[in-house]
């Protein structure tokens, strides 16, 4: 792997940019690997990267039915924060946040992590109580999160409407300054390049169609559209399709898959300096470096794999955005799209061993897993390499739905993302 640097850019500028090499190779699948990862999203690629760099396991294949990063990784609104309520969640999301800081250097790839601050709005007494509870719980866990008055919120984000006669007036806000955004595609590409350079095979256009188990029940490998590929360890990291693949191995999951949509506006000059989210009016917004407003909507109410959602969901979100930011009422929206998110009953992920020996699963990130990508890959690689969870992901089992030890961010999270 040739290192990217300012000197490399200068050198290539001198010779007509003919010396850039492919960022990852596209090898033919081997008959067998030590580990197979199903799904080349950010989480799967990060898992492969840390298997290679931290655990020295490089005989790894990442199988992807489409193109790498084409799932939710390339469809999300890239909000990063770690101000979750419960200790377990604080542990895993803040582990990720610490890795975001420095990830560009680690990968030698600019993932454009920008700690521009994530501000969550309160519109009523209940919101104030919930957000202040988060601020206090976060402080006890050593996570930054502070309370702002409406005036301070407007100072932090000038286009915000804090007038008292708004339908849902802003009565305060919680701000996590270390929160922000990153470039989603670059995250997938950076991990793919790093993993590939260390010998990991990334095999695109290769859909897993079955999971083969030996007589003793253990995993033997997977059937794919490019034939059978053997491995004694298989990690399923397939977001909305995780339950489909787990079903192939005979494991029924506590998951449901829903469409979640986002949209972007025409590009304009810098106007939104941070991320603003509101649970009550249900909308969140940031501005990309290209100048587009990036707006996230809600999920549809029914299970679907269609990767499209209802138009009324977007309309509802835009109503909310225009309420929060009246200056955007005449902006034009350019594109909208959907992804399929896998939601658990307690809205916390599952990163765990499964009842099938050699089969591991990393799923249930639902509407908010992009922010966790580096941390998730890091602890999931540990889980696969040692056949034992890392202390950070140990609480995120499948069995918690039997024992009742839920991590109930469903009721507690200030907002879905």
């Amino acid at each position: 792997m040739k290192k990217y640097s300012v000197f490399a850019i200068a050198r290539e500028a001198m010779r007509g940019h003919k010396g850039w090499e492919e960022q990852w190779s596209s090898p033919e699948p081997k008959k067998e690997y030590d580990v197979i990862i199903v799904g080349a999203g950010g989480h799967g690629l990060a898992t492969a990267y840390y298997l290679a760099t931290v655990h020295g396991i490089t005989n790894v294949a990442v199988l992807e039915k489409g193109w790498l990063g084409g799932g939710n990784t390339g469809r999300n609104t890239t909000i990063i924060r770690s101000n979750y309520l419960y200790d377990e969640s604080a542990g895993i999301y803040d582990h990720a946040l610490k890795l975001w800081d420095g990830l560009s250097q680690e990968l030698n790839y600019n993932v454009m992590y920008s700690a521009r601050g994530v501000m969550m709005l309160a519109h009523n007494v209940h919101d104030i109580q919930v957000l202040k509870r988060h601020v206090h719980a976060n402080r006890l866990n050593g996570i930054d999160n502070e309370w702002l008055s409406p005036e301070q919120a407007k100072e932090f984000c000038p286009p915000l409407n804090i007038s008292r006669d708004a339908r849902y007036p802003v009565v305060g806000a919680a701000l996590q300054r270390r929160g922000g955004t990153a470039r989603h595609d670059a995250v997938a590409w950076g991990y793919a390049r790093g993993a590939s350079a260390r010998g990991v095979h990334i095999i695109q256009n290769c859909e897993v169609t079955g999971v083969k188990r030996a007589a003793n029940g253990a995993v033997m490998g997977v059937d794919t559209t490019r034939g059978f590929i053997g491995a004694k360890k298989v990690g399923v990291v397939a977001a909305g399709h995780s339950s489909v693949i787990m079903n192939m191995a005979g494991v029924r999951m506590p998951l449901e898959s829903y469409p979640l949509q986002a949209l972007v506006s025409e590009p304009v000059k810098p106007v939104v300096p941070c991320v603003v989210m509101s649970n009550t009016v249900h909308a969140y917004i940031s501005q990309s470096d290209k100048g587009e407003l990036v707006i996230g909507a809600g999920t549809d109410q029914y299970v679907s794999y269609s990767q499209t959602g209802g138009l009324h969901i977007l309309q509802h979100t835009l109503d909310a955005i225009c309420e929060m930011f009246p200056i955007f009422t005449r902006m034009k929206m350019l594109r909208s799209w959907g992804g399929i998110v896998d939601v658990t009953p307690d809205r916390s992920p599952i990163l765990a061993k499964t009842p099938v020996p050699g089969l591991y699963v990393n799923c249930g990130w639902g509407t908010g897993g992009f922010k966790a990508t580096p941390g998730s890959g890091h602890v999931f690689a540990h889980t696969i390499a040692r056949d034992d969870p890392h202390p950070i992901n140990a609480p995120f089992t499948i069995e918690r739905f039997r024992t009742g030890r839920l991590i109930d961010e469903a009721a507690a999270a200030a907002v879905a993302h």
Partner: protein, 98 residues
């Protein structure tokens, strides 16, 4: 937006009148306190989440307010049929192979 046929009102109405109420034909135990943890987990948390034909409940919230069941393809979001609550799971589906 989906168009959904309410089997009680006997007409297609826009999705906004309805609330999805999750997977259908999951029977609640008559002795819920006596359920094993395994069975309770299956009843309460485990879902089939199929890519393909799903049996699901809907409620005609802003119409007759009644619950009913539907068969839908989760890839195309097309409804195969809807039927009244309490009716058995249809053995044969109109226009579906297999």
């Amino acid at each position: 937006m989906l168009l959904i046929r309410c089997p009680y009102c006997e007409e297609e109405r826009p999705e906004l009148e309805f609330r999805n109420a999750g997977e259908a034909h999951i029977a609640r135990s008559t002795d819920i306190a006596g359920e094993s943890d395994d069975d309770f987990e299956k009843f309460f948390f485990i879902r089939s989440n199929p890519k393909g034909i799903i049996y699901e409940r809907w409620r005609h919230m802003h119409g007759c307010a009644r619950f009913f069941n539907a068969v839908r393809d989760t890839v195309t979001d097309k409804f195969v049929m809807t039927y009244k609550a309490g009716e058995p799971k249809p053995a044969k589906l109109p226009g579906v192979a297999k």
